[in-house]
Assembly symmetry: none
């Protein structure tokens, strides 16, 4: 499970080291060092490749020209980049994603159990300000827990 927050520097070429605890989880639980980075709301969302593949397999079975399928694919698959963790524990975050989320000097990794997110510091702080309010609202709606 991915848990916790970590601030890491990102190099000019877009390399950033994945928190070692996340790497341990990837190795132990998923036996992979491949990630898929995609976009969701205001951050880069990262899935272990095996998890992501399950999602793709489902999408591949949908009728390929149907409007909903196409829109879903454009957003989710269209933003997805595969990235391998290198010998130093780093990944390359493609420029197109860095630009999209204003990730320049450092970024925040946020664990989300089966996935994790990468935020720019600025956006993270902004979101944080709202998140407690949002949490208050959503806990009234989520009955299952």
């Amino acid at each position: 499970m991915f848990r916790g927050q970590f601030i890491h520097k990102i190099s000019g070429t877009g390399r950033i080291s994945v928190p070692s605890k996340f790497r341990d989880n990837l190795k132990k639980k998923y036996k992979t060092n491949h990630l898929i980075l995609s976009t969701f709301e205001n951050s880069i969302i990262c899935y272990p490749l095996p998890e992501w593949n399950k999602l793709e397999d489902k999408i591949a079975k949908l009728p390929q020209f149907k409007k909903e399928t196409v829109e879903f694919e454009r957003y989710l698959i269209g933003n997805a980049h595969e990235s391998e963790i290198d010998s130093e524990g780093r990944i390359m975050v493609p420029g197109i994603l860095r630009k999209k989320f204003n990730i320049n000097n450092s970024a925040i990794f946020v664990g989300m159990l089966s996935r994790f997110e990468i935020w720019s510091e600025k956006d993270w702080k902004k979101d944080l300000a709202n998140s407690f309010k949002k949490f208050q609202k959503s806990r009234e709606v989520i009955d299952e827990i």
Copy 2:
């Protein structure tokens, strides 16, 4: 699988380099460097030749004089151009397609699993502005995922 977004320059003669990750996928998975370019919505749609053939086979099985079949065929098959990836990793995008989609200086490749799309920057941004909203809608329809 074709995934991700890549912005590439297009030459005056209509040559544009196919993202290397797409080329790798073409080689490994499809063992081809032939593509079929056609039109779909506001972009050029690109299929590896083997995938295209599958599509044609499916179309061939449809009732051949049905209105929808004819219309579907005319649109998809009628606009299809074959293109081979050259030694520099580029393809030629026929002028007729470039004009149709206002592709001038640069274009965006968007991965869609078994195919990919080529957009003009302008149209892509326009579409993108709606894409998260569309995604929100479509994911309600695609419950299984």
